[in-house]
Symmetry: D3
């Protein structure tokens, strides 16, 4: 097991029966020996069987997950949604949230870069809400409703853009590839408005679409328009701050305590991070 | 009058009455003398009055316009729309077209770069339809319905993005700045689908949105997704070909016959074009 | 065989005799078994012999080729050349064409990106001539002779830049690496002019060199000058349109009917394409 | 006065005496009439005299300043400094702060982009400290001392890089142009360490230099190394968040209430911002 | 006169006779007074007449020129040419040099960036030859003939690309715009080879073309191929070194001794240079 | 052995004893057979033992080294240092040189790109001093002391940035990653000045720091400030010229005489170089 905390395993001479017996996302019990292959550790499996009840293990023991329970995360998001004063904005947020509430319980926020684990997206939203709350207090000219709604909606369509199981993105959906989660969320805002008879050219609908559409800041990062509302500028930086610091936190957590450097992190200018303490 | 075909005019010592009397987009008759100011010709106006019926002139004598009448352009667009075989696609195109049909009679295709004149957008669509028709015959694997619909819809929301009068863009609308014409058109497709009960995840709705969203090809040119349908690739190049060649045609038309070089053209890598003939 | 339509094969324990017996670009008959190696199919060859007459197969059964016969392609190119009115231009085109006529029968248009098969370059030229013909009719200000000549000459030196066999580029020539096909074609125009006593500063020579030199549009794409003649702008977009749509067509043709997505295509912004039909 | 809140004034026919009598950064009383010149308002001054005591005005009535008094800002910075636990870090921060304490009372944070007013730099530091405090609570893996020290030191040499009066940068110093404030601050850390006999290769010295050197994140933004400590990543995003939101706040404050759009803001992707309210 | 050493002058109320009397590139004698306009000095001319013999001045007193006489420069270039051992290379260099020998006596090396004065191009060549001589001695693996020839030929077509008088470029020629000096020089090499029956695919012809074509190093700087011969790499850096250091030298020479900073220099990353001495 | 002059070797079935017996950077004697693996030659080792005295070989027989002895290189650098007239500059150079004198005897100039061998850094400095000497004679406005000092100091901290053995960089130091050799050298100048009581704002200290800090020319290449002294411009181009031509020389030396093309060279725009001679 290297700094990444992962090790590959090989089971040679699989029988046809065995091939059918095991499926992805199932727990198994294996016996084998550890070898070195191309300078990496590798487990050569000698025996394998499905996990049974007596093994007393469950899938959630083996998956990375956000440090707060999905239920608590969803509750926080809903409570925040209910604090929104503007009725149009609250209605639209509720409509979009209802579309993915089940998936929010388990979807990651991204395939690789950050929060790539069980309930990672909900966790990302909740941490951003904390930061958004602070920023709104520090900068009272910001519209609190818009910040809250923008944070909840900015990645809300990601569970439809990606296919994921147990916090691991396996693929992008056709819809996700052709439209992208940013415009999908924008579509949902339109749907919500039509369904609830909120005029499409009302300030609320336009502002919410703008928040979602511009939150990647630049065209080359996927935003068809650039932030032009004070709250849209804030949303982009709240998102960036949380995503980048979570990459840092995850990289440190995934690096063995004995290592002073993490692997290179693509989202942080391809740099590795050093773990530094002064108290030695 | 220089190579641009424009000359500025100054009327000094305007009275308050006069200031109120004249409005933009009105015809006037002026008398004055031509001077040179900072190496450019300038008309110093000595007398000015509103045009009257006896002057026997009309606004359309003075504005640049597409070489085909707006009525003919709109008819061609509608006829093409009616040729679309797929009923969902035709319904969506008809819905979006109805939103801007009046404005299509006079809106330009852009503020500066190309087709910046009366009915320029409709003219751009019609020329692209001609080219699209050729390409579909040359490359039968392309879906004709999707090409036709994509061409009609790709810039369909521009009249809502811009404010224009007589073919001249005066400003962008708030809506246009915050959402952009690309996502506005995508919104209209969603609206059309909901209105006509076409499922939002039907292939037609997704494909039409994809065509519109990806037609600028790159994120830095405003497209939140890149072309991933054969027809979307074709649409981008049909649009580019028509826009660029129209820039060429317009630049030549606006340059005095006596000049062998046009002014620099921003959309053509900031290069000027040379008028070249071999028959001298 | 994956979506690329290719499968690798391994023949272990080759004898020295066998090593000498087989050469590249020869047909062989093999017998073997299919295995999986690193998640890809692989043929393990057990027996191998040269193809003989009785096998009743020919090399052209196994190579990708343009859908029109090389003879027909060359004839179309020559017929178009003969339609050129301007005698200087026609003379230069004829001179350059004569240099590579034999190779045009089989050379591809590029190593990887597009038309990478037998007679691919001639096919590319012919399809561009069709498109050029349409564009000249739609935009009568374009000089037809210059468009025709530019299309025929734009890649005419590619067969000297690359070494290819049976439509597959094996290497670039020293000459090709040091000068590049763009300047090589420009050199040939100079040669042609000197040979036929056409003044080097005549409009025809300068214009043809400009067409060839600028057809990649930007310096970073290999053009030492940018398009500054109307026809040079047109040539670039005709070339781009044909190359990109051929990439699309080839990618679809090389992808199994059962797959809805092609592999990623480098020349199309590294995106895969989706095969979409509405009639299901 | 346009959206920028500024208006130019012209005083023609100045006498030589008058020319000598008035200096920059002095208060004057003027009388004149307002005119339009090149579509902008302009004051034509008819009388001018120096301000006298009876006018009962002071310079600080006319300069933009941070909303908190310089004394309070400095006190907050010093109190934070004193909270630093690590003695080496505290010593170095104190040494650097002492070098510019007087100038911190009045220097802006930048020439144009953000906090460009009286005590703007101290204000920037204090707001960042508030944000840093929040982030350290939300992300306990961050070293609080390093965050505090990094925030105080990151721009500490700016008052030596720029020459400013009353919050307005008039010029860059030779030293500032040749070395830049980032390396100047890094130099001061070295000086501090040598003066106080802290080893130059101690973790504290290296970490503080790294914080300062990397806080612009990318080489093209002026940082010779990229963030490779968790706290350095945090510092960059704290700085970015505060600078960008202050640009937003300043732009709104400097735009007349009657205008819904601010001027374009260079630091915000050259976009203007819209003032949006929902309660109308 | 500011740091640029230039001052503009205005002559108002010109009579029609006077307008015809004076032409560009003629010497005149003026009388007038100095004023400030838009913060710049300006001469208001009160009297003007043509210079006459008695004024005892000549045009060359007023133009910037290389510090070595044109005759000496040309002689050095020719002597170096005659030292070339390879007869093919020498023949080609002689052919190209003969084409522009007269113009080399006075042409500048560029419109703005460097050596923008009388005989500037010849001076640039001669200084590069000195540097090339040193480099060939330091790095004996370089082919001396190729370095010498490359230096003489690299910009040899510039006098045909630009129109200049007295060392000042007034315009680019049509030929220069459409082909560019790099390919023009390459053409001349082809011409030379054909004229002197040197095979076009001989190593000498290919190498010389490669040297010229690649000397701008990158496509975006105008080179259609990148350096792939050792001597081509050397040529690019010899050219860059001489051009950049001449920009430095010219900027210092054109800046008043009393100024410590030059104006910004576009070719030096848009930076100004400081004049620094230690002996004060 | 391919064009790179390297061949990999495999020793299978290593015993635990053997694993401990051999360490990196020791000489061994092996016996084995040559095989082809993945189209590359590979030595399959059958016997291995440590080299003994009787083998009569030494480590320096097997490492790449600069063509001049380390002692001679160091002596040249010191002699040049002693020629510096300005006492402050000489003192600072001596201080920095003393810090790394031992390592200069063996350190390479870079990990991969150029002078990547034993004493490569010292060799780079010496060749640059030769070039600097020539340039100062050609351009007398340059300050000779500053050029000499800049050349000696520009990479002086590289031996602290990298860990190397026998001319091969094995790693970067923590210090090197967090501060970088450019700022480390700048730190040393500050240290030297403090130690020898040279004022930190003296022209000599500022100029030397500027030389070092700006010598990579652009921010994206690691320089926090851009060259703004004439000598800093010269230093950058002297460094570039020497590094690039050494890459050329090394690539040719490392390519078998029978090959006409070197491998691709990353530092030379990823191009391979052709070995060209005319005398065949």
């Amino acid at each position: 097991m290297d700094a990444t905390g992962e090790v590959s395993a090989k089971y040679w001479d699989v029988t046809a029966d065995e091939k059918e017996a095991f499926a992805a996302m199932e727990l198994v019990k294996v016996q084998g020996s550890v070898q070195t292959y191309r300078d990496k550790l590798q487990v050569k499996i000698s025996r394998i069987r499905k996990a049974v009840e007596e093994d007393n293990i469950s899938l959630t023991d083996f998956i990375k997950a956000a440090p707060i329970s999905p239920n608590d995360l969803i509750n926080t998001i809903k409570r925040t949604m209910n604090e929104i004063q503007d009725q149009h904005i609250k209605t639209i947020v509720a409509y979009c949230l209802a579309k993915v509430e089940d998936k929010l319980m388990e979807y990651p926020a991204a395939k690789f870069h950050h929060h790539a684990y069980f309930a990672g997206l909900a966790y990302h939203i909740v941490r951003m809400l904390e930061l958004g709350d602070f920023i709104c207090k520090q900068r009272p000219f910001l519209n609190v409703d818009l910040i809250k709604a923008g944070i909840i909606l900015h990645d809300i369509a990601k569970p439809e853009e990606m296919n994921a199981q147990l916090g691991i993105v396996t693929d992008y959906s056709d819809h996700g590839k052709l439209i992208g989660h940013i415009v999908m969320a924008s579509n949902w805002i339109v749907e919500a408005a039509i369904t609830h008879q909120i005029p499409l050219d009302s300030r609320q609908v336009v502002a919410l679409q703008h928040m979602v559409l511009s939150h990647h800041n630049l065209g080359e990062w996927g935003s068809p328009v650039q932030p032009q509302l004070p709250e849209a500028v804030a949303l982009h930086y709240i998102d960036a701050m949380d995503a980048k610091l979570q990459m840092v936190e995850d990289a440190l957590a995934n690096t063995a305590e004995t290592e002073s450097w993490t692997p290179m992190i693509r989202g942080l200018e391809n740099k590795a991070l050093m773990r530094l303490t002064f108290d030695e």
